[in-house]
């Protein structure tokens, strides 16, 4: 096992996932503490554009694994490829972004590589003996757990989105292409198509700012107010379970226990009272704004900034103010 820290550099259609640059940040710190390199691994069909973007994050070395069969993600082909990269590089630590792909892939690769794994981590460090130690939310953010790793075994972690600032600065990484493993059984699983859902606005799990609405929006039509604000702030639009169940927004936009978990730097909850199941999906947001007529609502208690008022007046005013500010 070397002292290198390997980062799975997720890409789709040549676009590096923005969370990869975030993962490079703790990877650099761990590599510096252990005296190793940060090595990024790009897997796909056409990998050059993503490798260029990865180089700009300041990784020390880039490994690409390219094959036409890996144009779209499948758990089997990608686990074989990432496991091959691990066997080739023998890193001590492997980090993946806790994206849909990273969460799907990491447990398979960890099992295959005989590694130990912690998911959705928010802090990473090395203990006195140089072993990985992480901290992760449990019970939907109602508690946190410190997790230690065993000696002498590859340590893997998926890193929660929007937890670390993106790394930048660099272009000197050397590149190395290794062959895609040809494992016949991997063809059992194929991805036949990728269908866009939820329109062209950002997905709530990817956005750095989320504007979210509850049932008090009263109709799908009224969600336009939120989309206008989201447009100005380059935000994603989310909704409470009640709003989705009422048909105002598709379930793909639902934030909460049985919807998506989001960790943006800013979460603006419009007319969401804050049921515990909703809080479970957004409690990890850095800054929380509540816009609500009821100052006693749980969301107003949780919020860093609670705007007490009628969302139908406050939201358009906020859109106008944000426009003024961001025009400068």
């Amino acid at each position: 096992m070397s002292k290198d820290v390997l980062v799975f550099a997720e890409q789709r259609n040549g676009r590096l996932h923005p969370a990869v640059a975030q993962v490079v940040t703790p990877a650099r710190a761990l590599a510096a503490a252990g005296g190793g390199r940060v090595v990024g691994v790009v897997i796909g069909a056409a990998v050059d554009a993503a490798a260029d973007a990865l180089a700009a994050t300041g990784v020390d070395h880039i490994v690409t694994i390219s094959d036409s069969s890996m144009e779209r993600y499948t758990a089997l082909r990608y686990r074989s490829a990432l496991a091959a990269a691990i066997a080739h590089l023998k890193p001590g630590v492997v980090l993946l972004p806790a994206t849909f792909m990273g969460r799907d892939l990491a447990p398979r690769v960890a099992m295959r590589a005989g590694a130990a794994l912690a998911t959705d981590v928010i802090e990473l460090s090395r203990d006195g003996e140089g072993r990985l130690e992480v901290r992760r939310p449990i019970y939907n953010g109602k508690a946190f757990g410190r997790v230690s790793f065993p000696a002498g075994r590859l340590a893997m972690a998926t890193v929660r989105l929007n937890t670390f600032a993106p790394a930048a600065g660099g272009s000197g990484a050397g590149r190395e292409a290794i062959g895609a493993p040809a494992i016949e059984g991997d063809a059992r699983l194929t991805c036949t198509e990728v269908v866009r859902t939820g329109g062209e606005v950002k997905d709530v799990t990817e956005a750095e700012i989320v504007v979210s609405g509850g049932r008090s929006l009263k109709s799908e039509e009224n969600f336009k107010l939120l989309y206008e604000l989201a447009g100005v702030l380059d935000a994603g639009v989310g909704a409470s379970r009640a709003a989705c169940d009422a048909g105002y927004q598709p379930h793909s936009r639902q934030v909460g226990l049985t919807g998506k978990t989001v960790t943006p730097k800013l979460y603006i909850a419009c007319g969401i009272s804050g049921a515990i199941q909703h809080l479970a999906g957004m409690r990890g947001s850095k800054v929380i704004v509540a816009i609500n007529s009821d100052p006693e609502a749980p969301m107003c208690k949780l919020a860093d900034y609670a705007v007490i008022g009628d969302l139908f007046q406050v939201v358009p005013a906020l859109t106008a103010e944000a426009k003024k500010l961001l025009a400068h």
């Binding site: 447990p107 130990a116 998911t119 449990i138």
Partner: protein, 264 residues
Amino acid sequence: MKILVLIKQVPDSTTTIRIRPDGGDIDRAGVKMVVNPFDEFAIELAQQLREKRSDVQQITALAVGPAGAAEALRTAMAIGADDAIHLQDGAFETLDELQTAALIGAVVRDAGYDLILCGKQEIDLDSGQLGPALAERLDWAHVGAVTALEVGADGRTIEASRRIEGAEERVRCGLPALLTIEKGLVEPRYPSLPNLMKAKKKPLAVKSAADVPGFADLAGAVGGTHMHKLEPPPARPAGKQIKGEPAQQAAELVRLLREEAKVI
């Protein structure tokens, strides 16, 4: 077709989580335990497949956990499972997620299941490791976070959708396969009283470490993380209330987000 559904018993989502003074675990006294909601989707899906198709011969529910996990298995049998396997041993309690997957793999490897279903994650530890890790252990295909499913008429292939960022992946694979279930695919039913009564009479096999082939070597091969300290979430500083006319409120909020919170 033989279906296995993995069940975990977890604290109810509305429970107040208190951490023991030694930080080793949560205080479990008086905590209401339920079937992990995502696993409930899985058992419901299995039962719906049986109701729609003629080739589902058996649905088995399996749980790893202390004595109380038997309650969760009885619930699964009230919804649809024909029988249950309860892996219960003090030695299982220190296993981490990957080791638990290896344990289940050792028990189910030669049992002839065509489909294994489980929730996309467990709402206590929120790790989401079990399904994909077990599929790898068995060298099966898996589809994670499934939101739509069609099982082919021949019972040998499936087509499924899984949710990703702003899109859905449509995937196809042969059986056997493991699926982890996302919300929205099915709505779990409430078990009826007669079915709850019937579930008490269905067979539930308890297995200990001695019943698991190769258990002694299992923990040495993979996993081994240890959650050694639980901590409460950091206290959020008291928030600010912004009152006044909407235009003033909006201006003040934008100023605070820019100058104080520095997020826009």
